[in-house]
Structure formats: C-alpha cells, structure tokens
Amino acid sequence: MTQAAAPAAGRSLPAGPAPAAGRPRRRRGRAAPYLFVLPAVLLFAVFKLYPIGWSFLLSLHRTVGGTETFVGADNYVRLADDPLFWTALRNTGVILVVQVPLMLALATALAVALDSTLLRGRPVFRLGFFLPMVTGLVAYGIVFSVLLNKDYGLVNWLLGLLGADPVPWLTDPLWARISLGLALTWHYTGYNAVILLARLQTVPRELYDAAAVDGAGALGAFRHVTLPGLRPALLLTTVLSTIGTLQLFDEPFVLTGGGPDNATLTIGVYLYQNAFKYFDFGYASAVAYALTVLVGLLGLIQFRLLGEKT
C-alpha cells in the first residue's frame, strides 16, 4: 500500500523545492489574475458603482416633466416631513421587530428538530422545508392571494367549517400585515433553518454529553450548548433577514399592492411608486439613499450586539 502510493505522490510534486503557496509566481503569470477578475470588476463598476454615485446626484435634483433642477438637500427635507415615508418605515419596522424574530425562532426550533437523532427521514424533511424558497416571489404571492381571498378562499372556507367568521385577510389593515408576515414566514423559514442546521451539525456531540453529565436538562443543554454554538449562524440569518426585510418589494407588491390604506406599504414599494408611477426620480433616489443608510446602520448594530464574543 505505502510503497505503491509513494511514487504516485512523488510524480505530482515538482522536482525542485516546491514554491510556497502565495509566493509571487513567474512573470508570464503576473497579468493572469487581473485578467480573470477584470470582467467582473468592469461590469460591477459600470452597472453598480457608477449608478450608486449617480443615484446620489439624482437625489439632489428635482424631476419635473423630464427636466432636472438642482435643489440641494430639498428631497431629504421633504422625506423627513413625508407621512407616507414614515408609514412605510413603520410598516417595515413592524415586520422587522415582529416577523423576523418569530421566523428565526421557528427556524431554530426546526433546525434543532432536524438535527435530532430521534428524527426519521431527515433528508426528506430538509428538502421539503427548503422547497418554498425555490418558488418565485410572484408565483407564491399569487397563490397566497387566492388562498386568502375573503369570500372564496380555501382558508376562510376551512375556518368556516370550524364555525369562524370569514377573516378579511387582505382587505383589513391589521390582517393584511398578518397575511404578509405569514407569506414571508412560509417562504423563508426553511431556508434559514437549513443555514442554522449546517452550523448545528458542527457542534461537537461531546458538549451535549458533558452537559448531560453536569445534570443539565434539555432546556439547559439548549441554552448552554446549542445557542452559543449557533451564534455565528444566527448572526448571519439575522443580518440576511434584516437586509431582505428593508428591501421588501415583491411580496407586498403582488399580495396587497401596499394596501389596504397603506398598511403594507414598504420602503421598497414606496420607492417604486415614486420612481416608476410618478416618475419623480430625484425623490425616489433620496428614498433609496435613506434606505441604504438604514441598512448600513442596522447591520452595524447587529454585528455589535450579536457579534461580540465570537
């Protein structure tokens, strides 16, 4: 065995002293890495960096009838006084504070269940819970809007069998928010659970055994072994969900159109309305910049809060 393997290993090694990984390569290879990354960098500069800068310039202009006049910080002043912007901000904040923690708690429970040695048929479950993620936002938005129809929807019919009155899922401000939260939870819980599960599987089993020896019950093991082990993955899923929520557009656009009475108007929908319904590009750009600052701030805060100790 050993003898047979030795020459094979020898052949794949260079004859001279092996160049350490990372040492400058020979001259003909010097330009190569730049050529490899060039297309990506160029495309990124043209279609991302340049528009990001342009967007800031636009946010300092007012667009009226296709002509742009420089107005300085006017758009940002208007933003601060715009009740609809604050409504959108509040709606997005409610989703962030209510739906995201609930979904992540659910995802954590699901990950722990999927990780349990007591569970039979784990691959089937892992796959099944991930499947909603593959469905397009528009597609599931349409399915939900029909399922939740007040007069004809399946959900209200089932509730009717139990004797409940029809629920105005999409036509009442509060219920519309709940419906949006349900749709989001349906779509993303499995995805977050799979990320958490992957992390959970790297937690050494011995830690659980040690906790059991120390007399910790199931809850104690969860608090002292599972949660600390999950911390980096929880940080990742929290940051991803936060960014996703702040940018939320497709679901409210398809499910409720931002209504009723602007109850599900998100910053993303408001931005879209200003830009492509009222063609007020300057104001829409100011909304976009406000959104970006918000994403950056919240991301930083979450890193500080959850990232410490890791």
Binding site: P33, V37, L43, K48, S55, V134, L137, Y152, L246, A288
Partner: protein, 275 residues
C-alpha cells in the same frame, strides 16, 4: 438513541410531518387551482381535488398573454444569463481564490459591497442608463446589469479556495498556460460547485421580478413573473389561467431543484458556515 425512545421518535417525526404538510398546502392548492376554471375556483365549497381544466387554462393564457412566447423569453433570458454570469463569476472566483496579487483584498471587498448595498439604490440610474442606450424592451437590458453577481463570485471563491496549490503548480510544470490550467485542471473537480452556481443563477433570473418589470414594457418581451403580475392587475382576472401559468413557472424549478438539490444546498452553505 432511537431504539431507546421509540415513542418520542414517533412524536417528533409525526409532528414535523404535520408542519411539512402545512408548508405543502400552497403547492397542493396550486395544482388544484391550475386545473380548474376560474368559476369553479370561486365555488363554495372550493374544489379540493385537481380538476380537468388545465388545457383550457393554458389555452386562455396563450390567447390573452401569448404565454408560449413569454415562456420562451424567460427560458432564453435565464439560460443566456446563467452562461454569461456563470463565466464571469467563475473567472473572478478563480482569480481571487488561487492568486495573490496587489489589490486583491480591496477589489474583492469592493465587489462584496454589492451584497450589502440595497439593490433599489441602482434602480433609477440603471433605468435611465438603459433608456439612453435604447435598451428598454430588450433582453440585454435584463441580463447585463447583474452579470457580476456578488453572491456568485463569493460562492466560487469559497469553493475554488479548496483547490490544492500543488495541483495547479504541477499543471504549470507541464507547461500549461494560465487559462488552459483553469479549463483543464481547476474546473473538472469543481463540477458540484459549478452545478450549484448554475442552479442559483438560473433560479435568480427565472424568478427575478422588479428589474424586468421596470425595463420590459412591451408585452412581447415579458418574462413569466412580469406577465403573471400584469394579468393579475386586469379588471377581469382569470385566476384559473393565472394559476396554470404560476404552475408552469414553479414546477420546472421544483423538478430541477430536486434533481440537483444536494449540490445546491451544500453549495449555498459553503459560504454560510465557514467563516
């Protein structure tokens, strides 16, 4: 463990099965809705089993939205996008993962900025750019702006970092040029990562909504999500037809995903777990 707690094992498994059934309701109901006429859908009680109206619904869809054309648009755009973006992301991932060069960290950091900055910030300027290029209502307007997808580059760099340096060096010893080295030596063992990348890119483009909605205004250029959303906005919405179209959009994705799921999940997680 399992044998010692058969009761708890059954409880946990059946509990999760119940949860999975709840998650599956929209999928099942999509199959029911796509096979019923709009009128049957709004009967009381609503239909609970698949019906026989799928062909009619698809015919309605073809008539009202030229849906065959729409599906071809979606397929063509997603395939071309996957091929081009896959090439861009693979080249960049390889460059960042296997070479050390001046400015590497700065350039990579710059590209990763795209993961954090909200996509909405570029919508308006990009729209104006497309208008100036006279690219509105064209496929390239949908495809070009997202070719250098930060997540794709990240994914490929993570995967390519696992390539042993000796493998590449021995290839160089054999007189392989840098591009042939990538093609002949580096790519073959990367097949699972490439499958994950391709699936991710295809899904991303197939389901993308807001950007195509903005740059595609002529219904002959619509992609599936844009066409479905425009049908839903009509006064007289034929939900049977819309749900049939939704199924057309969702079923192929689910099938492809099931076929390649192992690569997909592990590929997506490559970046998520190692930090």
């Amino acid at each position: 463990m399992t044998t010692r707690h058969p009761g708890r094992s059954i409880m946990l498994t059946s509990g999760l099965a119940l949860a999975l059934a709840a998650v599956a309701v929209p999928f099942y109901w999509l199959a029911v809705g796509a096979t019923h006429s709009s009128r049957e859908l709004f009967d009381s009680p609503p239909p609970l089993l698949p019906g026989g109206h799928l062909a009619e619904n698809l015919a309605t869809l073809q008539e009202t939205a030229d849906f065959g054309r729409v599906v071809l648009n979606s397929l063509g755009i997603a395939l071309v996008y996957t091929l081009l973006a896959g090439t861009v992301c693979t080249l960049a991932g390889y460059g960042f993962a296997t070479y050390r060069f001046r400015g590497r960290e700065a350039l990579f950091g710059l590209l990763m900025l795209g993961l954090v900055v909200p996509a909405q910030i570029t919508l308006v300027p990009l729209f104006k750019m497309m208008a100036e290029l006279q690219w509105l209502d064209t496929y390239q307007a949908v495809i070009a702006p997202n070719l250098a997808l930060p997540f794709g580059i990240f994914l490929m760099r993570q995967s390519m970092a696992a390539l042993p340096a000796e493998l590449l060096d021995s290839g160089r010893m054999d007189g392989c040029g840098e591009f042939r080295l990538l093609w002949r030596v580096a790519l073959p063992p990367m097949r699972p990562a490439l499958a994950a990348l391709a699936l991710f890119l295809f899904l991303y483009q197939w389901n993308d909504f807001i950007w195509p909605l903005i740059v595609l205004r002529d219904d002959s250029t619509f992609t599936i999500p844009v066409a479905l959303a425009s049908l839903q906005g009509l006064d007289e919405t034929d939900y049977g037809a819309i749900l049939a179209g939704t199924a057309v959009a969702a079923v192929p994705m689910a099938v492809v995903f099931l076929a390649l799921q192992r690569h997909f999940v592990s590929g997506l997680l490559a970046g998520a777990v190692k930090e």
